[in-house]
């Protein structure tokens, strides 16, 4: 398994991270070691019961949409955490 710099570039882009050329080289080497290790599971042949589900497999847990809290109760607490705000809005740069 050899990871290419192009793969690292693509993954960094997906992760919204910038890497220096030196960091890319380091991560590429580490990736080979880590992926080489985790790939060992590909040798395990399936022997578990077919269709069995993990105990931690998630299921949707829904509740009735009732008893809402008072409107605006948490607005100030949460907006006060935003690095940029304008009135009751979180401010971001224009996208289009």
């Amino acid at each position: 398994m050899t990871t290419t710099i192009e793969t690292i570039d693509k993954l960094a882009e997906l992760s919204r991270i910038s890497l220096t050329e030196e960091e890319k080289e380091t991560i590429r080497g580490e990736f080979d070691a880590i992926l080489g290790y985790v790939a060992s599971i590909s040798k395990i042949s399936k022997s578990g019961e077919e269709g069995s589900r993990s105990i931690v497999a998630t299921i949707n847990v829904l509740r009735d949409d009732t008893n809402p809290h008072e409107s605006g109760l948490h607005t100030e607490t949460l907006l006060s955490l935003a690095p940029r705000r304008e009135g009751n809005y979180v401010k971001v740069k224009k996208i289009l």
Binding site: R16, V38, A39, I44, G48, V61
Partner: protein, 477 residues
Amino acid sequence: MTVPIDLTTLTIKKAHDHLMRGDFSALDLAEGYLQNIEAKNKELNAFLEVYANVREQAKEADKRIKAGTATLLTGIPIALKDNILVKGEQVSASSRILEGYRASYDSTVVVKLKAAGVVLLGRTNMDEFAMGSSTETSAFGPSKNPFDTSRIPGGSSGGSASAVAGDLALAAVGTDTGGSVRQPASFCGLVGLKNTYGSISRNGLIAMGSSLDIAGPITKTVEDAEIIFNCLKGKDVLDSTSIELKAESGKLKVKEMTIGVPRNFLEMKGIDADVLANFDASVEKLKALGCKIIDISLPTVPHSLAVYYIIMPAELSTNLSRFDGVKFGLHKDGQNLLEDYLRTRTEGFGKEARRRLLLGAYVLSSGYYDAYYRKAISVRTMIEQEFSEVFKTVDVIVTPTTPTPAFKIGEKTQDPLSMYLADIFTVPANIAAIPAISVPSGFVEREGKRLPLGLQLMGAYGQDALLFEVGKSFEGV
């Protein structure tokens, strides 16, 4: 202060008895720990912050004690790992990306601790977002092991373990995703508990791997760990994966228990000879307690670490996508929104976080999803089944908690894979959602210093109570 308090031998149970008898007050006790923090934290780097209202909390606890409404935990000074939300207090997961962030609500764990009257001392250092086994990935420098300050205390809840072992707190609450409570507890001569997945609410913990994470106590005795667990446990409407543990089965007598030793797991390379000798001695102790010891085979379980390093980065990279410099935490300005994201995340996340974000993106990407993520999920289910089969014939499975004693600061930072292998024995319990506890099992000597080791006991899903019984008997030998 009425009587000088000997913090070194104090336990939650003993402190509670003293508080009830009026030998000292909760304020005296808190002062004792604050003095130790003042004297020792500079060297140990266990606490990132001591809360400003510790004395006020202690005075409230004293009022409850006087009023006769105290619980076992009222007035007990406890440290919190820096990924547990306390309303109004800073919390950072030891990352720059949460710079200046103050929690907008109490985690369920903290709601319960506050209701019990605990004195929350402050927040303790950890690996960034709990990604590490040594606290060396913290943005605020490593914590030190009180047994040898040239060594790490373990991780990721290393600041918590360092605080308790150094008598800077009577107990701590950390989180365990792949061993982050048990491994530092083992390295610092303490008890570390990771319960059945879901038995403690995750609401208000900063998420790492959501199908693996659970909060857990780091204490001096098994009894203390059980006291904290009994306070924290229970189903919570704010965490849909939380569960109510069923009442324990009747079979609790240690001398009637069967203990399984997974020999194949112990024959892997990289396990220290002294650790194996200490483990064999621990097994002999269990035998002397009347337990029946049998060898068991767990062929798939040793693959847990490989499964973990696929599932955890996948979940982590998803969980960390919320840190975008828009809603809270660090913001670094760029020319446009994309540059804002890039600059914020590049400057906010440390090296290990970046490595795991990329790994997560890799195992989830369309070309590799089947080979990595889907395969890992399937092997995870096989591991669960393997454990549940073996638990039909044994009550408890034992392993060493760690393959080596505490390592030196810097020893493994250049080789991530060797760092990951420090969790080889602890990760399976998270993968299989089963309970596990690390109990001190003695010492080895390295360069003239005594370094603690731990014995890990694992139980079947939901059978947490068995571990308390065996753990208490074992620590009494």
